[in-house]
C-alpha cells in the first residue's frame, strides 16, 4: 500500500469515527450536571432517574469536581465556551464571579415559571447586584449552630448548654470525663469564619446587623470586638493543639464520639449520619449570653442550579432546572441530602431538620457571607484570617475588628468614612 493510499484510508476511517461519535452523542439526549458535591452522587443519580422518567429521552450525567478547585474548573471551562449544561452554582458573591460575564442564562418567570415557588431572600441569594436578575434556582438554606452528641452528654451526666456560663461549666465537666468538649480546630480557615459567626451572633443580635448595614456601626465597634473576645474563652474547650487541627480531623473527632460538640452547619448532619449511623445527633442554637436572653442560629442560602448560557442543549437544561424548582425534586432531595429546601411549600421530613426549620424563623444572617463576599478582600477572608491569628495568639479582638473593617472599606461604601 502506498503512503498516500494509506493516508487516505486513515483519514476516511477517522472521519467516519468522529461522525459516528457525533451522531451517537446527539441521539442520546444526554445533558451534564456539574457539581462539587461528589459525596451526593448517589442521591443525584437517583433523582435524575426520576427526571428521566418524567421527561423520557433526556438523561442527566453527574460530574463532580473537588470542592477546592471547583470554581477554577468551572470558570476556566465557561471562559472556553465549555462546561456542564446545568451547573451547580454558588450563591451571593460566588455566583456573581461566575455569572457577571454572561456565562449563565438569566432566569425569569417566562423561562422558569416555577421561580414563584422560591421566597424572595432565596431568589436574592442567586441574583446579581447589578441587574437584580435571578441566575439560579436556589437549592437549600443552611443553618449554622451546634451539632451535639446527645449520648456523650448523657453518659457524662452533663446537660446541653443553653447559656454561655452553662457552656463554660459543661466544658470543665466534659474534660474531667476525658471528652473533648468542642471538636473544632482552627487550621482550616473557612471553618474559622463559621465558628466565629455561630458564637458571636447571639452577643450581637439582629439590631446590630441592621445598624451595620445602615452604616451606623462597623466591625471595629466595641460590641463586635467584645463578642469576638468571647471566643478566646473557648480555647480550653478545643482539642489539644487546636491551631493544627483541621476540618477533617474535627469531623473525625465528632464522628468517632471523642468530642461532644461540633460547631458547624446543618449540611454536616447527613454526612455525620452516613459516616456513623449510631451517632445520636441533635442540633441546638449557640448559647445565649445569659439566662433569659434570646439566642440565634445563623443562616444563609448555599447554592443553586444554573443553566450554561452556551449550552448546546439549553432547552433540555432548562427543563431540568424548572423541575429542580418543583416539589418533585425538592422534597426527595431535601430528605435525601439532609438539608432544608429553599422552596416555600416543602416541609422537612426529618424531625431534626423540622426543628432547624423552626429555628430558622428567628435566624440571623451569616453576615460576612451574605453581605460581604462580593469583592476582594471578602469579609469571610478577613474574618477567618483574623480569627485564626487571634486564636493563635498573634492578634487581639480589637485588631481583628479593625482589620476586617479596614479591609472591607476598600470596596464597601458605608465603611469608607
Amino acid at each position: 500500500m502506498s503512503v498516500t493510499r494509506f493516508g487516505r484510508r486513515a483519514f476516511a476511517a477517522l472521519a467516519a469515527w468522529s461522525l459516528a461519535g457525533g451522531i451517537a452523542a446527539a441521539q442520546a439526549g444526554e445533558i451534564t450536571f456539574w457539581t462539587w458535591r461528589q459525596e451526593d452522587k448517589a442521591v443525584y443519580t437517583e433523582l435524575f432517574a426520576d427526571f428521566t422518567k418524567a421527561n423520557p429521552g433526556i438523561t442527566v450525567k453527574f460530574e463532580a469536581f473537588p470542592n477546592e478547585n471547583y470554581n477554577t474548573i468551572v470558570t476556566t471551562a465557561l471562559a472556553g465556551g465549555k462546561g456542564g449544561d446545568v451547573l451547580h452554582a454558588r450563591a451571593y458573591g460566588g455566583l456573581e464571579a461566575m455569572a457577571k460575564a454572561g456565562y449563565f442564562l438569566a432566569l425569569d418567570k417566562q423561562n422558569v415559571p416555577e421561580l414563584d415557588n422560591l421566597p424572595a431572600d432565596a431568589q436574592a441569594s442567586e441574583s446579581l447586584r447589578a441587574d437584580g436578575k435571578v441566575y439560579a434556582v436556589s437549592l437549600a438554606s443552611q443553618t449554622l449552630g451546634l451539632l451535639v452528641n446527645k449520648d456523650l452528654f448523657a453518659s457524662a451526666g452533663v446537660a446541653v448548654p443553653a447559656t454561655w456560663p452553662d457552656l463554660m461549666a459543661a466544658c470543665t465537666a466534659l474534660k474531667a470525663k476525658g471528652i473533648t468538649p468542642i471538636a473544632n480546630g482552627t487550621a482550616t480557615p473557612w471553618m474559622d469564619a463559621i465558628f466565629a459567626t455561630v458564637f458571636t451572633n447571639p452577643f450581637l443580635g439582629p439590631q446590630w446587623i441592621a445598624d451595620m448595614l445602615a452604616g451606623k456601626t462597623t466591625f471595629a465597634d466595641a460590641k463586635f470586638t467584645a463578642a469576638l473576645g468571647k471566643l478566646l474563652e473557648l480555647k480550653p474547650c478545643l482539642p489539644d493543639g487546636f491551631t493544627g487541627v483541621d476540618y477533617a480531623t474535627s469531623q473525625q473527632l465528632f464522628s468517632a464520639g471523642r468530642a461532644a460538640i461540633f460547631v458547624g452547619g446543618s449540611f454536616e448532619i447527613a454526612p455525620f449520619r452516613r459516616g456513623n449511623p449510631k451517632l445520636n445527633i441533635d442540633f441546638v442554637p449557640p448559647p445565649a449570653p445569659a439566662a433569659g436572653q434570646p439566642t440565634y442560629v445563623s443562616r444563609f442560602f448555599d447554592s443553586g442550579f444554573a443553566v450554561n448560557a452556551k449550552s448546546a442543549n439549553q432547552a433540555d437544561a432548562l427543563k431540568l432546572v424548572r423541575w429542580m424548582a418543583t416539589k418533585a425534586f425538592a422534597e426527595p432531595a431535601a430528605a435525601k441530602l439532609g438539608n432544608i429546601s429553599s422552596l416555600k411549600d416543602v416541609a422537612a421530613a426529618d424531625p431534626l431538620l423540622g426543628k432547624i426549620a423552626k429555628l430558622n424563623e428567628t435566624a440571623m444572617p451569616y453576615a460576612t457571607l451574605v453581605y460581604f463576599r462580593f469583592e476582594a478582600p471578602t469579609g469571610t477572608d478577613l474574618l477567618q484570617e483574623g480569627v485564626q491569628k487571634m486564636m493563635g495568639g498573634s492578634m487581639t479582638p480589637a485588631e481583628v475588628g479593625a482589620s476586617v473593617t479596614q479591609g472591607l472599606a476598600r470596596w464597601y461604601k458605608p465603611f469608607q468614612k
Binding site: 482550616t188 482539642p239 493563635g392 479591609g407 476598600r410
Partner: protein, 310 residues
Amino acid sequence: MIRPRQRAATARWRLRLWILLLLAPGLAVMTLFVAAPLLSSFRYAFYRFDGLLPAAFIGLANFRDVLAEAPYAATTWHALAHNCIVFAALMVAQNGLAYLIAFALLKALPGHRLHQVIVFLPVVLSAVIVGFLWKLFFHPLFGLVNAALALVGLHGLPWLGDERTALGAIIFTNAWHWVGFPALIFLAGMQRISRETLEAARIDGANDRILMTRIIWPLVAPSATVVVILTFIGSFNWFELPYVMAGATGSPGGATDVLGLYFYRTAFGTAASGLTDFGHGSALAVLMFLFIAVVSALALRVLRRREIEA
C-alpha cells in the same frame, strides 16, 4: 537532464523540509502549551477583569497595585519575604546537608550503594504525596512527630498550626523530599575530581574538613552552580508543598504565604470566596517570571565566572 548543482539544491531543500517536518510537532506543542499561555498571561496583566472577561485595558495599574498599593502590596512583600526565607533555609539545611551526604558517599564506605538509593528515594515521590504524608506526621493529635516526642517526655507543638513553626515545618518537609537530588549532583561532581588530586592532598596532611572546604568545594563549582540555580527557581516558584500542607491562604493567618499561593488565590479564588481576579493574578505571575528569569540569569553569570576562577 538535471545538472549536479541543481540536484544538490534540491537535496538541500529536501533536507530543510525534512528538518522542518521533524521540528513541527515539538514546535506546535511548545507554542500551544508554553508560549501561548505565557503570552496571554502577559496580555491579561494589563487588563481589569470583570468576572472572567477582560473588561478594560489599564496599562500598568495591576503591577502598581501588587507592588505598591494596599491591600495587595503588603501581601506581595510579605509573601516574597517568605520565599527569601525558604531559599536561604534550603540553601543551608537542604543543600548543606546534601554536600555532607555526597562527601560521605564519595568515601565509598560499606553500604554506600544502599544509602545512595535511600537518600534519593524520596525524590521520586510526588510533592503532593510527600505533603500529605508529612501533614499527617505533623498532626497534633495523631502525628508521628509528636508521638515520638512524647516517648522522650516532650509535649509537641501543633507544628503546622503555630505561626512560629509552620513555615519551618514545610521547609523541613521540602528538604526531606529533595535532599537526594543536590546530593547526587554534588556526588557526580566529586567523582569527576581526579583521584591523584585527592590523594596528593591527603599526603600533604589534609583532613576531611580541609578536603571538603579547600579542595573539593572549588572543584565542584559547576555542580554548585546547578544546585544554587535550581534551588532559587524552586524556592520562588514554591507551590505544591505549601498548598497541600497549608492551603491556598498560607494558613495559619498567612504565616506560610508565598508568592505561588498568593498568585493562585488571587487569580482563581479560594474555597471560601469564589472571586477570581485574573488581572492582578497575571500581573503577579509576570512579575514572578521576570524576577526569576532576571535573577537566575545574573546568578548564572556570576556563578559561571566563579567556576572558571576556581
